[in-house]
């Protein structure tokens, strides 16, 4: 009768489980000269490949998902502060996709290399006031009427364009200066803002979507 032989020897189990022991015997074997396999540094290209994957995924996420950016300037007061606020921008809305009137967007300014943050007041085919409607706080000078100040001039937004105006109309250079902006210049839609601390996170709502419908019976 042959002696009992287990299906796996101890050496086989060791090699399957990648267990290595520092024994004097094993140090003399030729295999012991190779460094122990490490899950990160074991393969010469493993770290490189993992880094490349991470970079590619991050790029994909920023390019087509979301990114954060600091917001600065007085043109969107009081929606956004002059300094110290960050915004979360959805790139899904790039090129004006899914953007509606009332949304706040980030766009490439057509007359210089910078990018701006403004509110959309008109999309292709919509009708907007070309100039600035004034509040009752600003009184008209003598002899100046709303008509000859141009407050009642209107236009229809051409195809492929939108009308962008900052919330603080006193300190904003926007479509009132350079006209309708091509939708292709829209980089994304601002979906949230955060101040200095993460708990000061706040979603930006579209006032035209969430305002309760005005009662016509009133």
């Amino acid at each position: 009768m042959p002696p009992f032989r287990p299906p796996f020897s101890f050496n086989t189990i060791k090699s399957r489980l990648h267990i290595r022991f520092n024994t004097t015997k094993s140090s003399t074997t030729p295999n012991s000269t190779t460094p122990p396999k490490n899950p990160i540094f074991g393969h010469p290209f493993r770290t490189l490949i993992a880094t490349a994957k991470l970079v590619a995924f991050t790029h994909l996420f920023i390019q087509y998902g979301f990114y954060t950016s600091p917001a600065a300037g007085p043109s969107m007061l009081p929606t956004m502060e002059v300094l110290g606020e960050w915004m979360l921008v959805s790139k899904w809305h790039r090129f004006g996709r899914g953007v509606s009137v009332g949304d706040v967007v980030v766009f490439n300014i057509p007359i210089n290399d910078g990018h701006g943050v403004k509110r959309v007041l008109g999309l292709p085919g919509d009708y907007v006031l070309v100039n600035t409607p004034h509040s009752s706080a600003s009184s008209l000078e003598e002899g100046v009427t709303e008509e000859n100040r141009g407050e009642k001039a209107m236009m229809q937004i051409p195809k492929g364009h939108c009308w962008l105006v900052g919330d603080n109309m006193e300190a904003s250079r926007d479509s009132r200066l350079y006209g309708p902006v091509p939708l292709a210049l829209i980089r994304g839609k601002v979906v949230a803002k955060v101040r200095q601390h993460p708990w000061e996170f706040q979603w930006l709502r579209n006032p035209l979507d969430t305002l309760p419908e005005y009662s016509l019976e009133g």
Partner: protein
């Protein structure tokens, strides 16, 4: 550069609204023209006029005065479109447009102007910033 666009006075809004961005007359489900007062939902949005109260003083507060902008959201066969009616609501053109199409709807146009004046008289925000 955007294509050249026609500027028109707000009193012509009712007639201008009938033309789509392609220059053709807008088609509606019932074949009638667009009636801003009757067919379109009234919406509003606040924008502001902000001033530094004391420009010579460091950390001076900023006061923002609201400006109500009124919109009508209408529907044609191609979908929804928005018409800014800030300069049109409450005018004689709006009232005459509504009396020809919807008798008795004249009072509708008085509401937003009253609301706008109430809102704009109220100081909304005073912000301290650097």
């Amino acid at each position: 550069m955007p294509p050249p666009s026609q500027i028109f006075p707000a009193k012509d809004l009712l007639s201008q609204v009938q033309i789509g961005p392609d220059g053709r007359k807008r088609k509606t489900a019932d074949g009638r023209g667009i009636d801003l007062a009757k067919d379109c939902e009234l919406l509003s949005l606040l924008q502001y006029e902000c001033h530094v109260l004391h420009p010579g003083i460091r950390d001076s507060p900023v006061q923002c005065w609201p400006i109500t902008r009124w919109f009508r959201r209408c529907q044609d066969m191609n979908g929804r479109f928005t018409v800014e009616t800030t300069a049109w609501e409450g005018t004689a053109e709006a009232a005459s447009g509504s009396t020809t199409s919807t008798p008795g709807a004249q009072s509708n146009h008085q509401v937003p102007t009253e609301q706008a004046s109430k809102t704009s008289q109220r100081l909304v925000t005073a912000i301290n910033h650097i």
